[in-house]
């Protein structure tokens, strides 16, 4: 830092930007990229604050503002999305769009902003997509069956620290869908595998392990997600940096579950 008297990072500069933004009226209408210019954007502003500035400008001109999903604006709710210059969440490691700051852009930059592109995530307006397919997959098995009131004392279930840590690594998923958007096949493998890994690193997740794996994979296929062909774009795009290792765990468990199911079927046939 050249000026030791200023602990604040850098002095705010302002940027002028040319934006190409996907506009689409609703689920069925065709969409297109529309070009806008926005000026006076502080480098301290976040990417979504830059869009706020654009929207204020559009409203002042009598144009409908750009619709985009967002809520917590601190990288944890998973609502924000956006493909920025071809990369989900803008492509900075471990960063959601809401935490992407304008100091990473230069004055005069052109920026292309599009919604998630995936068969299972239809666009509902402009940059907003329908991610309810994720909810449907979770509803088929992304839980531990433990009715309220039936729990033993928490310290009766010992969890080795490293298991808890690995469960937490996987549980950090925010369900934003960047993994699906990044995948050339539109696969949800990383999302599904992260939930399975969270539950399967814990002793509480063991009783339903086999059934859960099968149910969630079946639901994933039914929801219209593509298959995984090991590109690992998902891992690179994940704002929570979830490791592709969780997918190896899924594959192992799935093979095991399929084998167990086959055995069970044969046995039941055998016994009549």
């Amino acid at each position: 830092m050249s000026n030791p008297a200023a602990p604040a990072a850098d002095h705010a500069r302002t940027l002028s930007l040319k934006l190409h933004i996907w506009r689409q009226a609703d689920r069925v209408s065709p969409g297109k990229l529309v070009t806008y210019t926005v000026a006076g954007v502080s480098t301290h502003a976040s990417f979504l604050e830059m869009l706020d500035i654009l929207n204020e400008q559009l409203i002042a001109n009598g144009e409908e503002p750009v619709a985009f999903d967002h809520d917590c604006r601190e990288g944890i709710c998973g609502a924000c999305s956006l493909i920025i210059n071809g990369r989900p969440h803008g492509g900075r490691a471990g960063t959601t769009t809401c935490q992407l700051h304008m100091r990473f852009f230069r004055d005069g930059d052109e920026i292309w902003i599009e919604p998630w592109r995936a068969h299972a995530f239809p666009v509902i307006k402009d940059l907003c997509v329908d991610r309810s397919a994720f909810d449907h997959v979770i509803a088929e098995g992304g839980f531990i069956t433990a009715n309220c009131g039936s729990a033993p004392d928490a310290n009766d279930i010992l969890v080795p620290k490293d298991h808890a840590e690995r469960a937490m690594d996987a549980a950090a998923c925010i369900g934003c869908g960047a993994c699906v958007a990044a995948c050339p096949n539109g696969s949800a493998m990383l999302f599904v595998a992260a939930k399975l890994a969270h539950l399967h690193h814990l002793p509480q997740g063991q009783p339903e392990r086999s059934h859960r794996t099968q149910a969630m994979v079946t639901a994933m296929d039914a929801a219209g997600f593509g298959n995984c062909s090991n590109h690992y774009e998902c891992e690179a795009a994940c704002p929570k940096e979830i490791s592709r290792d969780v997918m190896a765990m899924l594959n192992r468990d799935y093979a095991k579950a399929a084998y167990v199911a086959r055995e069970r079927e044969q046995k039941s046939h055998g016994s009549g």
């Binding site: 503002p65 917590c72 909810d135 992304g142 531990i144 928490a154 080795p160 937490m168 969270h198």
Partner: protein, 640 residues
């Protein structure tokens, strides 16, 4: 309006079990005949919806987010309290109860707080069984940390993402019931009115808007549960998610549910300071950082522009340690916030605009090393660096207080029922447990207590007195009228076509509140705010512009409806603050202080202020629920 808190009789330790035994039950086979509507899918609403469905009720759950997993509970960082005493450090249910009553500056109901402390232990058991990945010790037992306002380690946590993990646990339980067909989930759907049966006076259902299609629809139920969070966004800038709002609670207020203590708002001491006028929200840095970070400002005003490294220890004022030696950096939130403001008002604040104080990890890093500090706070440090561009391992964080939580909310009795029979209110949306100031790691505890362990009992008691066949017809006149009112209001919003955006009004309202009803309030400032707010509201309805249509996906219209409610609610908030001529917890009236500390007036204000809507354009009526302290001695709060 008659206020009956329905506080159970008997010694406080036995009240909850006595009350549960006295409650009526619904036969398991009959439960499916009862329809229950839950608004909100956070810790309180999601837990209620899941648990009621587990019991067999026919549940519908609505949230405005695109998925129930995104409710704002997800953003809570630090932890959840429970009186487990796993650390053998002197904790007990009674101590958690005591700390919470004292922390709330003696403005909460003892019976509710004691129940909260009792069920806190069950919450941890339940969450662990559901696979919440709490932090662990090497032996596999649960780890704890300490938090502001407490001298024991009773906070359970999952890194700096405790709210996320607890909410995902709730979401998992809720998803299980959705998959089983026991809960019908309505995401991207916003509640815009409560329908009250004119004959019985009971809650009969809701009017909602599908945020994707814009369609307005009515749903009937035997009971309605609001778990719609707090109203911190009335200040525009707060740590709350952008979508959080007061609309559901305020609509219920206008239908007859009384609103309690709206002026009790919490300003959190450790947030990233405001950077510019484009700022859309403020980011909290978990209070848990105060376990290892030391708060200071330069002693000399001339030093504020210096790099912190160039300010030696003896030129630093560790003002929390100086003023409150026994709690130090872990002083409660209201106290730490006011102390920061004091330093900055004195011209010793740091960073842009002089509105910031240092939260410094230098000593902890030297003591424990980067690895250990990183394990505890790594994600928070990263978050800070991402936003500010500064590395807290090298430069102290700069923090400043920001609006974070609202202790006020819909008035509820011991059963969590509002003044409208059949309308219940849980979590941050109600007023019940935190008095005038909430202690850290207690919001998650209250949300889950209400949703998992309290409403399943109290709702059953209510429904046992309602005939299953008594379900309102959503096509009947009260529903039609309410839906027509909702549609007319939305039509009005899109038809003004004025010159100012919704956000510009929201920002201006926020500014009025922050300046006049923020960390320091006075008769003068509140009177000024009460003069300004109606003027701004009139201008809003004359000059707001909402583009797009009512019957489409229209984010401006969503915001406009919420801001319109904030513009009315803000007046109630300031009015409450004006009448409460004392300082307590987060409510600091400059006229009422001794040596800079809040001065309560127990003779005049040892009560809950309960506001009844008297009709548009009329002054609301203030009722009181007296508070009695029989178990914790009413005393001046001291953290010295």
């Amino acid at each position: 309006m008659k206020l009956d808190a329905r506080t159970p009789t008997g010694p406080i330790e036995q009240q909850w079990s006595n009350a549960r035994f006295a409650m009526k039950l619904v036969n398991p086979a009959n439960k499916r005949k009862y329809k229950v509507i839950v608004i909100g899918s956070g810790l309180a609403g999601g837990a209620a919806a899941a648990t009621l469905a587990e019991l067999g009720y026919d549940v519908a759950c609505f949230c405005f987010q695109d998925s129930p997993r995104r409710a704002h509970s997800i953003a809570a960082q630090g932890g959840i309290n429970a009186a487990k005493n796993y650390q053998n450090d002197g904790d007990s249910i009674h101590r958690l109860f005591y700390d919470t009553v004292k922390g709330g500056d003696f403005r909460a109901r003892e019976s509710n707080v004691h129940r909260l402390a009792e069920v806190s232990v069950d919450i941890i058991d339940q969450c662990a069984a559901m696979g919440v990945p709490f932090a662990r010790e090497y032996g596999g037992t649960l780890a704890n940390r300490s938090f502001g306002g407490a001298q024991v380690s009773r906070t359970f946590y999952a890194r700096g993402q405790t709210g996320q993990q607890l909410l995902l646990g709730v979401y998992a339980a809720l998803s299980r019931q959705i998959g089983a067909g026991k809960v019908k989930m309505f995401p991207r759907t916003e509640m815009l009115d409560v329908v009250v049966d004119p004959g019985t006076g009971r809650a009969a259902g809701v009017v909602v808007r599908d945020l994707v299609t814009g369609a307005i629809a009515s749903y009937a139920a035997h009971a309605v549960i609001l778990a719609t969070g707090g109203y911190g966004n009335v200040f525009y800038l707060s740590t709350n998610a952008k979508g959080t709002n007061v609309t559901a609670a305020y609509r219920a207020y206008k239908r007859g549910a009384a609103f309690a203590n709206p002026c009790f708002t919490q300003i959190h001491p450790t947030c990233i300071p405001v950077a510019g006028d484009y700022q859309s929200k403020l980011t909290l840095m978990s209070e848990s950082l105060r376990n290892d970070g030391r708060v200071w400002v330069p002693k000399a005003k001339d030093d504020v522009a210096k790099h912190p490294d160039q300010i030696p220890d003896d030129a630093r004022d560790y003002y929390l340690e100086r003023k409150y030696p026994s709690f130090g950096n872990l002083s409660p939130r209201d106290i730490a916030s006011r102390a920061a403001k004091e330093q900055c008002d004195d011209g010793r604040g740091v960073g842009p605009g002089g509105r910031g104080v240092y939260l410094d990890f230098r000593d902890a890093l030297a003591r424990d090393g980067e690895a250990q500090i990183g394990e505890k706070y790594g994600n928070l440090f990263e978050m800070y660096e991402r936003i500010t561009g500064e590395d807290p391992y090298k430069v102290p964080m700069r923090i400043y207080p920001a609006v974070h939580y609202t202790m006020g909310g819909l008035w509820v009795d011991y059963h969590l029922e509002t003044t409208i029979p059949g309308l219940f209110c849980l979590g941050e949306a109600n007023f019940s447990d935190h008095g005038a100031n909430r202690l850290g790691a207690s919001a998650l505890m209250q949300g889950l207590a209400d949703g998992y362990f309290i409403i399943p009992y109290t709702l059953g008691h209510y429904l046992a007195g309602v005939a299953a066949g008594d379900l309102a017809d959503p096509a009947s006149a009260p529903f039609r009228d309410a839906a027509a009112g909702v549609a007319a209001r939305l039509d009005k919003l899109v038809s003004v076509r004025g010159k100012r955006s919704v956000d510009s009004f929201h920002k201006e309202l926020g500014q009025i509140l922050w300046e006049n009803c923020g960390m320091a309030r006075s008769k003068e400032s509140l009177t000024f705010a009460l003069d300004q707010i109606p003027k701004l509201r009139d201008e809003f309805w004359r000059d707001v512009t909402v583009l797009g249509e009512r019957d489409s996906f229209n984010q401006s219209l969503e915001k406009a409806g919420r801001v319109a409610d904030f513009l009315e609610f803000a007046e109630l908030l300031c009015r409450d603050a004006l009448v409460r001529e004392e300082s307590c917890g987060g409510h600091f009236r400059v006229e009422h202080q001794t040596l800079g500390e809040a001065k309560r007036d127990d003779d005049r204000f040892c009560h809950v202020a309960v506001w009844e809507h008297a009709g548009d354009g009329k002054d609301p009526i203030r009722h009181v629920e007296p508070l009695a302290f029989e178990n914790v001695k009413l005393a001046t709060r001291s953290y010295k």
